[in-house]
């Protein structure tokens, strides 16, 4: 009973990841653990190695050493497509949408559905009706209300565009959604909308890795906080029991990880 609570299921884990760029060690034997149905915030100062870590997890780079496990099995991602095929989707910071294309087209971009039968195989015709229906269903599931899915993305606000990008990842991810600074370019109201959306993605059963500089946002939605510093994971904190200032102190090195009380760890 208690042992089950102490060792929650890990969706994704990494052990001893190393990545060097010449003399610079971006990842210095770093570990990573992502539990089932959680929002794990990854924070760290510039150069702490958080973006290198995320790139390794999303297949954007291959680590020099260490192993990554997904659902307990060792995986080797050579490129982002490998990670996507394994069920890991990434929402990139710079809003990876094509503004002139419709919402439905963006949701299915690169994964278009084709018509059944000869029309799909020989004529390679798109199944526009089904893509539209499934888009509506995906958006409804995440309670995203942005009107017609046939309108071009450029008619949407920044928050709504981000919502489309998140919906696309949530629709295709089977295990993990990685989000790189999803609220960075947004105002207060739009940020809140996206934070709500991230919660709903978790509540649907996915695990979310959230990279963010915004401490209030991190404390608002993270279940646990992974602190990266100098290429290592220095601590995993519980946002409900540690203060924001102590978290920042750990991140910048002002507070030694040993000095953190046990109940503030996660």
């Amino acid at each position: 009973m208690t042992t089950a609570a102490l060792s929650p299921t890990l969706v994704m884990e990494a052990r001893g990841l190393v990545k060097r760029y010449g003399h610079v060690v971006a990842l210095d034997n770093t570990d990573f653990e992502l539990r089932e149905r959680e929002i794990l915030a990854v924070i760290g100062d510039n150069g702490a190695g958080k973006s290198t870590l995320i790139k390794a997890l999303s297949g954007a780079l291959v680590p020099d050493a260490g192993e990554i496990r997904l659902d307990g099995r060792v995986v080797h991602f050579r490129n982002p497509m490998d990670a996507r095929n394994a069920g890991i989707e990434t929402v990139y910071q710079d809003l990876a949408v094509a503004p002139a294309l419709s919402i439905a087209n963006n949701l299915f971009l690169g994964r278009e559905l084709r018509r059944p039968g000869m029309l799909g195989t020989v004529c390679r015709m798109l199944d526009k009706a089904r893509m539209r229906e499934e888009s509506i269903a995906h958006l409804r599931e995440l309670k995203i209300d942005i009107g017609s899915t046939s309108q071009p993305v450029e008619t949407l606000s920044g928050g709504q565009r981000q919502a489309v990008a998140v919906a696309r990842s949530a629709a295709f991810a089977r295990h993990v959604v990685i989000m790189d600074e999803p609220t960075a370019a947004l105002g207060v109201q739009q940020s809140n909308m996206v934070l709500d959306l991230i919660r709903r993605v978790r509540d649907r059963g996915l695990s979310v890795v959230l990279i963010s500089h915004d401490m209030p946002h991190v404390f608002e939605i993270a279940d646990r906080i992974h602190v990266a510093r100098l290429g290592k994971r220095v601590a995993v904190l519980n946002p409900r029991t540690i203060s924001m200032s102590d978290t920042v102190a750990v991140m910048t090195g002002a507070l030694a990880p040993d000095a953190i009380p046990a109940d503030a760890r996660a």
Binding site: A96, G110, M125
Partner: protein, 315 residues
Amino acid sequence: MRLKPALGTLGPFLALIAACAFFATRSDRFLTGENLSIVMQQVMVVGVIAIGQTLVILTAGVDLSCGTVMALGGIVMTKFAVELGVPVPAAIASGIGVTALFGVLNGLLVTRVKLPPFIVTLGTLNIAFALTQLYSSSQTVTDVPESMSVLGGTFRIGGTSVVYGVVLMLLLYVAAWFVLRETPSGRHVYAVGNNPEAARLTGIATPRVILGVYVVAGVLYGVAALLSVARTGVGDPNAGQTENLDAITAVVLGGTSLFGGRGVVLGSLVGALIVGVFRNGLTLMGVSSVYQILITGILVILAVATDQLSRRGAR
């Protein structure tokens, strides 16, 4: 909501109607079936080139080499048939093969060496022109076999004669429209032109899409070469010089954005017709050809300005 894109597609069409109405009041010969048939014939070569140009421009590229590559294709197919005695179908295939190779060259320089399309195709424009002059010794190839000009033949609908080549051009437009609108490949062309980074991140093989577009354009310039030979009955080393810029003009007049990712291929047909109608109408009115060039220039700037302003409005 749907009004704006509808206007974008309709605008060029309305301009075409207005131009036709204007010339109809200036010359009673303009609206005759015979004259409109001539306009279509004059437009068919540039019309086919404009399909390829549209594909390239949709990926935010541009192909300045289109006309001179076409001229090279025409010289190759006629010389192969006339001087080397190559059977006509094989000679035609060789000509189209050469223009397709130029598409491969353009595409590889853009995707692999990552040079700007403007510079790449400015280079290949000159290379194709020089090769054409060298290979033909700047001589027109005559005595072209009859069977190479089949597409220049006509059939009659009612009292009007229709050229087979015009029918082929219209079929190619329908095919391009279908691929762009109804298939994943078409979607990817728009996505690559609209936001190459987003396209890449969603797993689209961006370089392959761009290379493919230049190669298909090259093939279309070969087909245009065949139409040009069929229409004139000779292999002309100086062909394609007006088509080079006329094709870009047609695409832009047709409402396709030079910034990529926006446009409808049928618009380019309308654009080509606008250029053709102005040429024809002004000729009927007895206006010197210099003024035709002047007006084409003004039209292009108006079209690009509209594109630029509508983009600013969308932001």
